[in-house]
């Protein structure tokens, strides 16, 4: 019961972007402990770190992701939640390195060659990390070769491609086919304003969504925590 209570408080802090005691955001949690302190406390109580991750941090990010999908919150809210998640993760990072806590896997994301837009891509990266993944953000204007290097360096990784122009989304086909040639089982997700479900199917990619949380849900179903 006590464990459930603190895990729910952690989830609440991540959902509402309460990073730590000092943070004045959100106004109704001012002066209270945040995700950072509560995660430390949960570890000190002996709660399984994997449970803290799944039932606390990931749960909180799922909730904000769902609200974002429903247009109930905006980018700043998601960024504050991601900040709270990052603050809490500092306590879990040593446990990832030791292997005591396992992440789901590696998610490699980048904006395709010729495109420099990155806001949406970065939000997806944050939310996927919030879903319990190790995220490798390759940045913008990413050539095929960089994605292919990632596939070779991180066996079992999942690839996310982003494009905001009709002229650059065509790169997605070339990149997807190159990735599938190296490893046909590598999952490729695509997103961005001009991208559609039909386009996704036509180029042999595995999943398309305009909503970051749907991308998180899809890859989480592939690898449960």
């Amino acid at each position: 019961m006590i464990n459930d209570h603190i895990l729910e408080r952690i989830a609440h802090c991540v959902e509402f972007g309460k990073s730590d005691l000092k943070s004045p955001y959100p106004p109704d949690l001012k002066g209270q402990e945040g995700a950072q302190e509560l995660t430390r406390a949960a570890l000190d109580m002996g709660i399984d770190p994997g449970l803290i991750l799944s039932a606390g941090l990931v749960k909180g990010m799922e909730r904000i992701g769902a609200k974002f999908r429903a247009n109930q919150v905006f980018v700043p809210h998601v960024l504050m939640s991601a900040k709270a998640m990052t603050a809490a993760m500092e306590h879990l990072k040593p446990l990832f390195l030791s292997g005591e806590v396992k992440r789901r896997g590696t998610f490699v994301i980048g904006t395709v060659a010729g495109d420099l837009h990155d806001i949406g891509k970065n939000i997806v990266a944050m939310m996927v990390e919030g879903g319990g993944w190790e995220v490798l953000n390759l940045g913008v204007d990413v050539r095929d070769g960089q994605f292919m290097d990632a596939v070779n360096s991180f066996p079992g990784c999942i690839i996310g491609l982003s494009a905001l122009l009709t002229t650059t989304m065509v790169s997605m086909e070339k990149t997807t086919r190159a990735i599938k040639e190296i490893n046909p089982t590598t999952r490729v997700l695509i997103g961005g304003a001009p991208v559609t479900e039909e386009f996704c199917e036509s180029i042999g990619a595995d999943f398309y969504t305009p909503y970051p949380q749907d991308a998180v849900d899809y890859i989480n179903r592939l690898v449960p925590l």
């Binding site: 004045p24 955001y25 106004p27 001012k30 700043p76 900040k83 420099l116 970065n122 009709t166």
Partner: protein, 237 residues
């Protein structure tokens, strides 16, 4: 048949506007990122102050060239500017109809703002990066608003009206027509160049056309006119 564009006509109007001259207030950024102006919770007012301090050194550059003898063909949904035919498609063709001239414009917030955003991202300050990226978008649109006002005043003295701004990549107009648009501007105008993928660099840049004529209209633009459901500006928030 129209003005030849073999030789690029010199820009008729070009301006540089400082951040202060642009008159961008915190409320504009609050509104842009989704908060009611004046109601952004802590720490956003402080973050916005920090971002605005970084932005004081910024400036925007932009201008336009006017081409006379434009022909708008509503049947073929295209516009002829000199020897260049633009496939403006149904919405933009309709909105530019009755234009006798067009102002071809371009405007940029410059490279510095993108550099600042990248720097913040590199340091893990994603909220600062998002705010400054948003300021970049506001800067270039505000600069273009001011340039458009100057055009409007200049045309009014000749009894002419102007339309809204229309750009390739919006309202169903193929973004690849940016290439033809840039043929109508001097090379490297305001330091803006077009990549192979039709991206303008610096990224916070805009370009397009404004119709000019005695019978054109400037009206409230709504997303209801356009059937591009995936446009990121349809639901900005």
């Amino acid at each position: 048949m129209g003005t030849s564009v073999q030789q690029v006509i010199p820009v008729q109007h070009k301006v540089q506007l400082t951040f202060e001259e642009l008159g961008i207030e915190a409320a504009a950024l609050e509104d842009y990122i989704g908060f009611q102006p004046g109601s952004a919770p802590e720490p956003f007012p402080q973050l916005i102050d920090e971002i605005f301090s970084e932005c004081r050194i910024l400036s925007a550059q932009g201008g336009y060239s006017i081409y006379n003898g434009v022909q708008i063909d509503r049947t073929r949904k295209c516009m002829l500017v000199g020897d260049l035919e633009f496939q403006t498609e149904a919405i933009v063709t309709k909105k530019l109809d009755r234009s006798k001239a067009v102002a071809v414009f371009a405007c940029t917030a410059g490279n510095e703002i993108s550099r600042l955003a990248s720097e913040f991202n590199r340091k893990g300050h994603s909220i600062h990066a998002y705010l400054i990226d948003s300021v970049g978008s506001i800067v270039v649109e505000r600069a273009m608003d001011l340039i458009q006002e100057k055009l409007k005043s200049a045309m009014q003295s000749d009894g002419l009206l102007i339309t809204n701004r229309y750009s390739p990549g919006y309202c169903g107009w193929d973004i690849r027509e940016q290439k033809k648009l840039f043929e109508l501007l001097p090379p490297d105008f305001c330091g803006i160049r077009l990549t192979e993928t039709m991206l303008m660099k610096p990224v916070k840049s805009v370009s397009g056309f404004i119709g000019i004529g005695r019978e054109v209209k400037y009206d409230s633009y709504t997303c209801g006119y356009c059937d591009d459901k995936s446009c990121i500006y349809r639901n900005k928030r």
